[in-house]
């Protein structure tokens, strides 16, 4: 993988599970050594100058929480600022600001043991910004957060980047909307290789003029994977819609005519078609085009595990 992220960029890394996103972030944050090759962060080699790198970076991993149950929110933020040499007054000011934007201000003096999981995740997110890093690595930062909290987090990142043009964000996410909204450039990676790299707009424009249809079909019926075998179907993805329980099916076809065959096959699979829409290109369709499947498929498969 050969990749350069410019200072001041908000850069997105998209890829299926096992693509190497988190491994790349662990290498760049000095938690793992590269098996070969070289990685530089702010000009410093992660393998030979880790302390120089660490002074300038921070990391937020979504789904994780930080701190100790006996400490309050304010004390936790202060604790982690002390590992970066942030002075007391600056730490207090930053903690107040971050608690404000993440909705933790009212909980400032509550112990972590009394916070909900979502609140603890927000705290973990705020912690990452306490050192005002030159480069922040956001690894699935909104994983597990509710819709409103995710929106707050995205809003904060957008503002942080806007107000600090010399700061850099490297974001991995499963949510295409997030990458589309925040990132100036996006790389789609799989098996440690870059499949596509450009601005979200350019990536969408680069898609071949292949029609993409979105179906809503009934949850019951036979397996949908057989649709891939239809001649003229380029790729497809499907997952259960969390609210309606119906299955959302996206199909990329060579020509509009192929959709008739898809509808016929769906009928044969005992799937009722509730709705059909022809879609405009999104980052998700770009992803499906390059990887051959959607991220939602992977989540559904992961959910089947024990």
């Amino acid at each position: 993988m050969d990749l350069t992220v410019q200072r001041g960029e908000c850069f997105g890394l998209l890829g299926p599970n096992g693509a190497g996103k988190s491994t790349l972030i662990k290498i760049l944050t000095t938690l793992l050594l590269p098996t070969s090759g070289r990685a530089l962060v702010t000009g410093y080699d992660v393998a030979t100058e880790p302390f120089q790198v660490r002074r300038r970076i921070n990391l937020v991993s979504g789904g994780d929480s930080s701190g100790y149950g006996v400490l309050t929110v304010r004390e936790t933020l202060h604790l982690f600022s002390q590992f970066y040499g942030v002075s007391g007054p600056v730490a207090r000011r930053r903690a107040d600001e971050l608690m404000g934007v993440t909705g933790l201000a009212e909980k400032a003096d509550q112990k972590l043991s009394s916070l909900s999981t979502g609140m603890r995740q927000k705290l973990n997110f705020a912690r990452g910004f306490m050192s005002d890093p030159e480069v922040i690595f956001l690894d699935e930062p909104t994983l597990g957060l509710d819709v409103e909290a995710s929106r707050d987090v995205r809003g904060f990142v957008a503002r942080w980047v806007r107000e600090r043009p010399d700061r850099t964000v490297l974001l991995t996410t499963h949510y295409m909307v997030e990458a589309d909204e925040l990132c100036g450039r996006v790389a789609i990676i799989d098996h440690g290789r870059i499949l596509a790299l450009d601005t979200p707009t350019a990536l969408k424009r680069m898609l071949p003029e292949e029609p993409v249809f979105e179906f809503q079909v009934s949850a019951t019926g036979q397996d949908l994977e057989g649709l891939r075998e239809i001649q003229g179907v380029r790729s497809m993805s499907h997952h259960a819609h969390p609210a309606t329980g119906a299955v959302e099916l996206k199909v990329v076809v060579e020509e509009d005519d192929v959709i008739g065959e898809v509808l016929g096959r769906l009928k044969g699979l005992d799937r009722s078609v509730l709705n059909v829409t022809k879609m405009e290109p999104t980052l998700e369709t770009v992803f499906i085009h390059h990887v051959g499947r959607g991220l939602a498929d992977e989540e559904a498969e992961d959910g089947d595990g024990v």
Binding site: K26, T29, T30, L31, L32, L33, F51, R54, R55, I57, N58, L59, S61, D64, S65, S66, G67, Y68, V70, L71, E75, H78, L79, F80, Q82, F83, Y84, G85, K111, R127
Partner: protein, 275 residues
């Protein structure tokens, strides 16, 4: 160059105090810990005092038990608060947050040690004072200063050993629970927490002296009770041995930390939980 050095020192010092502060705050906020670390050791200690009293043993033996009871609180803290801590941090996904910081890992460990000592001192003092008041155990206060000096040397060596164990426990993974248990109850026996360690026989007692608490406790008893303490080694030998142990343990801890971190960076062990 000099200002950069000052900056690094200040940052590491702040990290030491910050990490120590977590434990100091915790010691006043977790009432269950007070019960587990004060009341239960106090009950064990009381049982031994009553056994000695029932056997009409010399009164010094009751003093041995009270001093041992206080020292047990520190040893438990070394095992559960130092040795196991990095393992628990990793299981909570928190170890990586320490490892990406620019401070020395030794600063974090020293912070944990100082905080642990501060936290445990309240428990140990409660056991000591409780034992003295309840069982009328006499400790000659005129010898308190040299005893305190030896006690500090013992803590230095014991917590340095805890630093080594913190890396080892991280490498041993889920066996940590058994390892901690092995280092708890048997050590109560081999360190002579409730009796003069020389009673175990010279070979066993000297083997047990690799643990700083064994020699430290033996020395402190000698300071307070002289020959009645049935000391294992001459008292004059003990302070230099404790200093030497501290230096060796600190050096080994530093090497172990580097080894653990390098191994983790090659194999991904520092961020993978539950291996």
């Amino acid at each position: 160059m000099e200002s950069r050095l000052k900056q690094v020192l200040a940052m590491n010092l702040a990290a030491v105090f910050a990490r120590a502060g977590v434990r100091v705050k915790a010691s006043f906020r977790e009432s269950s810990w007070v019960i587990g670390e004060t009341i239960f050791p106090f009950l064990s200690m009381s049982a031994f005092v009553l056994v000695y009293r029932g056997l009409h043993a010399p009164r010094e033996y009751e003093g041995f038990v009270v001093l041992g009871g206080a020292m047990i609180a520190y040893w438990n803290n070394v095992i559960w608060g130092m040795a196991s801590q990095f393992f628990w941090e990793r299981e909570q996904g928190q170890l990586q947050l320490y490892l990406i910081t620019p401070v020395s890992r030794m600063s974090i460990l020293i912070g944990m040690a100082l905080g642990g000592i501060a936290m445990t001192t309240t428990r140990a003092a409660a056991i000591l004072i409780g034992g003295m008041l309840l069982f009328h155990v006499e400790l000659p206060l005129s010898r308190a200063l040299p005893a305190f000096g030896l006690f500090l040397l013992t803590l230095g060596a014991a917590y340095s050993l805890g630093m080594i164990l913190s890396s080892l426990f991280l490498l041993w993974g889920r066996e940590v629970w058994h390892t901690a248990t092995i280092l708890q109850e048997p050590i109560y026996l081999f360190s002579g927490f409730y009796f003069p360690v020389s009673a175990m026989g010279a070979a066993v007692a000297i083997a047990g002296s690799i643990l700083p608490v064994t020699l430290g406790l033996d020395g402190i008893r000698q300071v307070f009770y002289g020959k009645a303490a049935h000391g294992l080694l001459p008292l004059a030998w003990i302070p230099p041995i404790q200093v030497a142990l501290t230096l060796v343990f600190l050096l080994v801890a530093s090497v172990m930390l580097r080894y653990m971190e390098n191994l983790g960076k090659h194999e991904g062990r520092l961020t993978v939980r539950g291996d």
